[in-house]
């Protein structure tokens, strides 16, 4: 996943909350909580990053924590909150 390009799904809206953000998927109606502001930043940086790696470093996540964040991104991907950018295979 690190070297792939990922985006927030078009059907998803992020709502800032004191603890991070709430993500709502209008298509599958799933509600997910991003419990850390850092994770919210990573997801936001995905929009303009060519790779997940880039988004992680832009968001200031120390490399030692990348595996944990990638895990969180994978679970967001499982409910289609984020998806691989067009033209890229998973």
């Amino acid at each position: 996943m690190r070297d792939e390009e990922w985006r927030l799904s078009p059907a998803v809206a992020l709502r800032p909350e004191p603890f991070g953000a709430m993500a709502y998927h209008f298509g599958n109606r799933k509600l997910t909580f991003l419990k850390r502001p850092e994770l919210v930043r990573v997801v936001q940086y995905l929009q303009d990053s060519e790779t997940v790696r880039q988004a992680l470093s832009q968001a200031g996540v120390p490399e030692s924590q990348w595996p944990a964040y990638i895990g969180a991104l994978r679970s967001l991907a499982a409910t289609d909150m984020i998806r691989p950018s067009e033209g890229q295979d998973q």
Binding site: A13, R15, P16, E17, P18, F19, M22, Y24, F26, R29, L31, F33, K35, R36
Partner: protein, 411 residues
């Protein structure tokens, strides 16, 4: 077990979602909006004592303004109810308006207006979810509390939705002493209609306060509900209703938290904002959407909601081993049965509720009632019918709760 209140005093960083939710959110997650107090039925346990329309109900324009504000606050969906929301002439317009403004709608109905044409409209509208209320898996049990003909109305609506290709409607059941034995049948009815079953707890709210003693599940039935929920897991929705049953064993899926004023609230037909749909009483009235700051200010700044989001004391419950999962249960259930808010739930599975109910208590006076004074006889629920089939009151009581003051009395 500790005497220390486990509620943190300030919002923690990270931690569990429950810890976060206790301090509230910038906008509600579970917002119920009752569009009208008018209803074609007169269910004996109606949480909002509905029946007659209130002349002060929000106009179409005022409702649209509320939807605009929800869109700005990013409230992603609302649960619309009533009364019977579909009897409002502008209901279908407001539904469309909300969906067009990124506010998804789930609405609860007794099914009266879900004919083939409306079912087709609903099936073609994204972001709409329909919930049909049914409180008995047979007409006998359902109509006992919801009124004659209401079972057929609900089933016909489910059938119309299915035939129109509407996916995944909800069959919404309030679990009572009378229908607790029908849980499998409800599941079958939902399955047959391509729908999902949703079970919720009977709360002594609205007219429900008057019949709660007779309708709420008996202590041994609480365990039946718990076991059934555990066995059926994710295939049944509960709206987090039953977290007071968690002390029976493992926690049920969901938040295990009273969300009133923290993640939950109600906008009533006249625009009043209450902490929870089951707490329509001036004690839990936080403000009105027509006030200058609108809904946002009520949600974010009202004194009541601020208080509900600050650390609560939980009295005797903090000593309970199950406090972490049960947290003293439902605020509304305690309030309307006249129990202290910082004590155990009236249906506490440890039995503390029964003791408290047996003691001195003052049930609050309702602060609103839109019940119709008199319904034509044929339209009234006839609770007396089922009671005739109940065991002879002179028979020995089967449990402490079934003890009748007339047991053993022969005229």
């Amino acid at each position: 077990m500790t005497d220390v209140i486990s509620t943190p005093v300030a919002r923690p960083t990270g931690g569990s979602l429950v810890d976060q939710f206790e301090f509230g959110l910038d906008a509600p997650i579970c917002l119920t909006w009752e569009l009208t107090y008018a209803c074609n039925l007169a269910c004996v346990h109606c949480l909002s004592s509905s029946g007659r329309r209130d002349p002060r109900e929000l106009t179409t324009e005022q409702c649209e303004a509320v939807i605009d504000e929800l869109q700005r606050m990013q409230v992603f969906y609302v649960n619309i109810g009533g009364g019977e929301p579909t009897v409002r002439p502008d209901f279908w317009h407001l539904l469309q308006y909300a969906v067009d403004h990124q506010v998804g709608v789930k609405f609860s109905t007794n099914g009266i207006r879900i004919d083939k044409e409306k079912a087709a409209f609903l099936a073609s509208t994204p972001y709409v979810d329909v919930q049909i209320s049914l409180d008995g898996a047979t007409a006998e049990v359902n109509d006992y509390v919801r009124g004659p003909g209401s079972y057929d109305t609900a089933i016909r609506a489910l059938k119309n939705l299915k035939e129109a290709g509407f996916k995944d409607a909800k069959v919404s059941v309030v679990v009572t002493r009378q229908n607790v034995g029908q849980l499998d049948d409800f599941k079958r009815i939902a399955d047959e209609h391509g729908a999902t079953l949703r079970l919720t707890r009977l709360r002594p709210s609205g007219r429900g306060a008057d019949v709660w003693d007779e309708l709420h599940p008996l202590p041994e039935q609480q365990r039946t509900i718990y076991n059934w929920l555990i066995a059926n897991g994710d295939n049944v929705l509960t709206g987090d209703s039953f977290f007071h049953l968690a002390p029976f064993g493992e926690s049920l899926p969901g938040l295990n938290l009273c969300g009133a004023g923290r993640v939950v609230c109600l906008i009533d037909p006249v625009g009043d904002v209450y902490a929870c749909p089951f707490a329509i009483h001036e004690t839990f009235l936080a403000g009105n959407v027509l006030n200058e700051g609108g809904f946002k200010e009520v949600w974010q700044e009202s004194a009541l909601f601020t208080e509900l989001r600050s650390p609560q004391t939980s009295g005797a419950c903090t000593k309970c081993a199950f406090f972490d999962s049960c947290r003293g249960g439902c605020m509304a259930a305690k309030f309307f049965t006249g129990l202290p808010l910082d004590g155990p739930d009236p249906e506490c599975v440890q039995g503390h509720g029964e003791a408290a109910l047996a003691g001195d208590r003052n049930r609050p006076q309702p602060s609103q009632d839109h019940s119709r004074a008199a319904l034509p006889k044929r339209a009234q629920p006839v609770m007396v019918q089922l009671s005739l089939t109940r065991p002879d009151i002179t028979a020995p009581p089967v449990s402490a709760c079934a003890a009748s003051p007339l047991a053993g009395f022969q005229p």
